[in-house]
């Protein structure tokens, strides 16, 4: 059929109408900058995929091996903790909140206990605060070891995983002895702790510290010193400081960008202002820096643990709470530094037995929202390096 061509307003398209009046179509002219007519491929990474930690799906549009756009699709693990929290006694929320970042349960619980204590004006005994700090720092090391193992694994180095988990087992033994659990510890309580440290726990903790120090040095040699690891991670996935702040990205991502923002330093809670430690920062904000910051944070945690060992006073570990916990009406906010980043809780209370609103601002939610920025323009092979370097846990994203 004869075509009657007229230029139209469509982008680069030419409208035509067949002479017999049927069919109006638009011919999209091939883009001048492409000689070959290629088609973008949409690749679904996940939700079941060996690289994504848990059920995270990333919808990636590829042009050959280059990523044009990447959109994370989350919500596969949404368990509606915030709604559930509105139906729970304030003390029961601790058991819910364990399940965000399931690798570091104490750090999650800490914030909840603190926000309720703040609202109610409860003074936590000193011993309990120091022990909370000790357990929180060991938990931080547990979490970071997890990523020391899994990040090189994604890049193809299979050995650090085994070493990291060997270390984790040793620390888990301590956790199990103190709290009775390995994964969801539910050790913090509103007003203190569940129970006191068993006799000898501090000695075990003391023994672990130099061993961990040695091993962290080994990781630096094995992983950071590996030329291929450096080649795969340097200059990849750069997140500049202002972009990171704008996204609310925190933890290793923010510190690697050069911003020494750590809730333990800028707004000290517990007794973090009474111990000495530094906040390691990177310079370029690339994947290599994030991993370096991860190892640095572990070393600083060990420093804190050593200092805490000397400071734990004798005394009670909990206060007697009334039978019914009813914080006065109002709202309270607590910001803690979880291993993955900034974890804050915002609680609104209407003087009832259950909270009116319990907002859980988890670090991985904001960290993963940077994916579209990070992944645009990277190669498919780098996608894994970038995704793995934004250390996240899916339960933390979806709550």
């Amino acid at each position: 059929m004869a075509a009657d061509q007229q230029p139209s307003g469509a982008e680069g398209g030419v409208a035509f109408q067949a002479a017999d009046g049927t069919g109006v179509g638009v011919i999209i002219r091939e883009r001048a900058d492409r000689e070959l007519h290629t088609q973008d491929m949409t690749l679904n990474v996940g939700p079941q995929h060996p690289a994504t930690h848990g059920v995270l799906r990333v919808l990636v549009t590829l042009d050959g091996e280059m990523i044009e756009s990447a959109e994370p699709v989350i919500g596969y693990m949404h368990r509606s903790f915030e709604k559930l929290a509105e139906y729970r006694d304030y003390r029961q929320i601790i058991a819910l909140v364990n399940r965000h970042d399931w690798v570091s349960s104490i750090c999650n619980e800490l914030g909840v206990a603190m926000v309720v204590e703040r609202q109610m004006g409860i003074e936590v005994p000193e011993r309990a605060t120091w022990i909370r700090m000790l357990m929180a720092e060991w938990t931080r090391i547990l979490n970071h070891l997890m990523f020391v193992g899994s990040y090189p694994l994604e890049l193809g180095a299979i050995t650090p995983m085994f070493y990291a988990f060997r270390e984790r087992e040793e620390i888990q033994a301590l956790m199990e002895w103190v709290t009775g659990g390995r994964l969801h510890l539910t050790y913090c309580r509103v007003g203190g702790l569940k129970q006191d440290l068993p006799r000898g726990a501090i000695d075990l903790s003391r023994d672990l510290v130099p061993r961990l120090r040695e091993r962290i040095k080994e990781y630096e040699t094995l992983i950071l010193g590996n030329e291929i690891f450096a080649a795969r991670t340097k200059g990849i996935g750069v997140l500049p400081a202002d972009v990171a702040c704008s996204y609310g990205s925190s933890g290793c991502s923010l510190q690697a960008a050069g911003v020494p923002e750590d809730a333990r330093k800028t707004e000290p809670y517990l007794f973090y202002d009474q111990v000495e430690f530094d906040v390691p920062t990177g310079r370029n904000g690339d994947c290599y820096d994030r991993f370096t910051v991860l190892l640095g944070r572990m070393k600083e945690s060990l420093r804190i643990i050593e200092q805490v060992h000397e400071r734990i006073p004798p005394g009670p570990v909990t206060v007697k709470l009334p039978k019914v916990v009813r914080p006065p009406a109002g709202h309270a906010y607590v910001r803690t530094e979880a291993p993955l980043g900034q974890l804050s809780y915002y609680m609104v209370s209407h003087n009832e037995k259950t909270p009116w609103r319990f907002k859980m601002r988890t670090p991985s939610f904001n960290n993963v929202s940077t994916f579209p920025y990070l992944l645009k323009g990277t190669l498919l092979a780098d996608m894994i390096a970038v995704m793995g370097s934004v250390f996240f846990i899916v339960g933390d994203i979806d709550r």
């Binding site: 919500g75 915030e82 139906y87 702040c245 996204y247 910001r335 915002y346 904001n366 929202s369 920025y373």
Partner: protein
């Protein structure tokens, strides 16, 4: 700046438009939805306030009064927090989006939209984030019952809410 100084600074700029409240060292300013955007821009751009770090944006169901949207931001240079709060009507509540001021607001606004039913004007892609596409209703509203409890009453001790 500490919370009181911040409150005075913001009051000097906006006067009656905002109702400040300092609670446990945190400043919360409640504004009309018409002023929300202006205040957010000021909090972001003003030199003394300069809140560049996006913490969260969430909704709080205030029953008859409406749905309160709380925007919480922080300044990495001045180390202070500000909460900007605005109450919108339950049906058809709309607030301007702040995703161009803080990129992190993108996902938080999507989450608030699906969980509370608040629309954000100017947001590029207000699709469901955490919930499946077919989901109907706004779960975090108080009238949305917790399905588990409706389907089968809790067999154990009395629920805290009872």
């Amino acid at each position: 700046m500490d919370a009181d100084a911040l409150r005075d600074h913001l009051a000097a700029e906006f006067g009656d438009a905002l109702e400040p409240e300092v609670s446990f060292g945190l400043l919360t300013v409640t504004v009309e939805d018409g002023d929300y955007r202006r205040v957010a821009e000021f909090v972001r751009n003003d030199r003394e306030v300069s809140c560049n770090f996006f913490d969260f944006l969430c909704g709080v169901d205030e029953e008859a009064a409406g749905i309160a949207v709380v925007l919480h931001v922080y300044s990495t240079s001045h180390h202070h927090h500000v909460q900007v709060r605005s109450v919108v009507p339950r049906d058809g509540g709309v607030l301007p989006s702040v995703h161009d001021l803080w990129a992190g607001a993108d996902w938080h606004e999507r989450e608030t939209a699906e969980l509370f039913g608040v629309a954000f004007d100017g947001h590029p892609h207000l699709a469901k984030l955490l919930l499946p596409e077919e989901f109907e209703g706004h779960p975090l509203r108080k009238e949305f019952a917790l399905l588990a409890r409706e389907a089968k009453p809790w067999p154990g001790a009395k629920e805290p809410g009872e």
